[in-house]
Amino acid sequence: MRPSDPQTLHAFAGFQTLLYKEVLRFWKVSFQTVAAPVLTALLYLVVFSHALAAHVQAFPGVTYVQFLVPGLAMMSMLQNAFANSSSSLIQSKITGNIVFILLPPLAPAELFLAYLLASIVRAVVVGAGVFAATVWMIPVPLEHPLWVIAFGLVGSALLGTLGIIAGIWAEKFDQIAAFQNFVVLPLTFLAGVFYSIHSLPPVWQWVSRLNPFFYAIDGFRYGFFGQSDVSPWASLAFASAAFAALSLFTLYLLRRGYKLRH
């Protein structure tokens, strides 16, 4: 071999390979990364529907258990989108194999898109798993499939991006866990997974409207029931704006090499 020997370079191969590697990474351990979150969602469904079915009426003509299914599916998608990018980055940083991604000629946008899309793929697989596991017992209408797709993608993209930021920032697994427990979990639980925000006191309704996760869940639910707390267009606008802002911030961090290139 000589250094001058011809080689065919493919412009998108770097990005595609990183995306493939990121998908393969969670797929090789799908028992933990897909089956486990589906089981968790089912447990929530059983417990909450049993405890609350008699007390909560969210939308007219929709049973509480039906109301719960899309919310739980979206919650699982959000959490897994976050988990995918954040855990991949922190593992690579701690084990040191991040150098194999930093040494090649990958542009910041390629890194961002590959981690982002892998997170979305995992979220969609988990979301589909939740529906596949529940549809036999709890039939849920599907009024506007395009809204379901739109919010499924925007919601997972939002959390996938947040996961990248957390993965870049964190230096230890504890810090990722803290981010997950003190930011992601409260924001998803308070985003109306288990209730309609109309059942809340006005102050808390107002607070909920500051939470971008709320729009993702509310809009997602609109796609199934044709009913929601706020207009799906407004939800899409808010969720997309939050995603765009986080994306720009992530690209800025990657260009600077923040905590990756010292």
Binding site: T8, H10, R261
Partner: protein, 302 residues
């Protein structure tokens, strides 16, 4: 053509000054050694070259491509074998190399990957998971990873630490062939005999600065010498030789000699004086001596 160039590179990590104005140029096709004690800044310099660290001041280029402004071409031209053994436990050896090729924009790279596996004695482990490999094997996979894109500049940061003797030879045979085929090699190692044998030019670093930079031959000529060591039985060293000689432990005499003709001369003197030689050896100049002398000189200059 210059393969690697550093100009006035400074780098601090908090209070630690890792690089304090490093400038050097490695010509294309050289086998270049970067030596120095731990903490001298060798790895930081390599990291800055690969974009793993960002220089505070100064600039670096690989094959004429600035590592920050033209990072894509710079990184395509560079293959770094990092010092720490790192691997991705999710994948097999072949998957690892296929993925690494893809990162560099290469799709159908199997022929070269097969050759790398063969040359680095990894063929039988191609489908083994990275976790199951020994330390030496993991390091050879890292060498293969650095070579998947056939970079014109190959940087090896202590590649033989923890690799057994036979495999070390396998590795050097391969790297020498790559060098003969036109690849520029930059090597750091703590095994100075390895550096002496392989490198045509050497830079020595200490405290983030380059303290010596010359061809291996010049460094050896300036700082080390060929010596004849003799141990005599029941007699003293003849006067003609005693002037230049030094006494060493264990009854040895150390006599500097320029070349083998001088060895002949010294032996003739011993014979003429009727001395009985109990033991005798000729010690060639050693890079280790050069290294120790230069580091001592630098310490004294502080």
């Amino acid at each position: 053509m210059i393969a690697v160039e550093a100009r006035g590179v400074h780098k601090r990590f908090g209070a630690v000054r890792a690089l304090a104005g490093v400038s050097l140029a490695v010509e294309r096709g050289e086998f270049f050694g970067l030596l120095g004690p731990n903490g001298a800044g060798k790895t930081t310099l390599i990291s800055a070259l690969g974009g793993l660290a960002l220089a505070d001041e100064g600039s670096l280029a690989v094959m004429g491509h600035d590592v920050e402004r033209d990072y894509r071409n710079a990184r395509r031209s560079l293959g770094i074998v990092p010092q720490e053994i790192v691997f991705d436990p999710f994948f097999t050896v072949r998957e690892t190399l296929t993925i690494q090729s893809g990162y560099f924009g290469l799709r159908a790279n199997d022929a070269w990957i097969d050759e790398l596996l063969e040359r680095l004695a990894l063929a039988s482990k191609a489908n083994a998971n990275m976790r199951s490999l020994s330390g030496g094997m993991k390091r050879r996979v890292m060498v293969a990873q650095a070579l998947v894109h056939r970079p014109p500049v190959i940087v090896l940061d202590e590649p033989t630490a923890g690799v057994d003797v036979e495999l070390r030879q396998t590795l050097w045979t391969f790297i020498r062939e790559l060098n003969a085929a036109g690849h520029t090699i930059v090597l750091t190692t703590h095994y100075l005999e390895e550096a002496q044998e392989l490198c045509t030019r050497i830079a020595m670093m200490r405290d983030g600065r380059i303290v010596a930079l010359d061809s291996t031959a010049n460094l050896l000529a300036e700082f080390s010498e060929r010596v004849l060591r003799v141990k005599l039985e029941g007699c003293e060293l003849p006067e003609a030789l005693a002037a230049k000689a030094e006494r060493e432990e264990g009854g040895w005499w150390r006599i500097p000699v320029e070349d083998m003709a001088h060895v002949e001369g010294a032996l003739a003197r011993l014979r003429e004086a009727g001395a009985t030689v109990a033991s005798l050896e000729v010690a060639e100049p050693e890079l280790e001596e050069v290294f120790v002398k230069i580091m001592r000189r630098e310490r004294a200059a502080e």
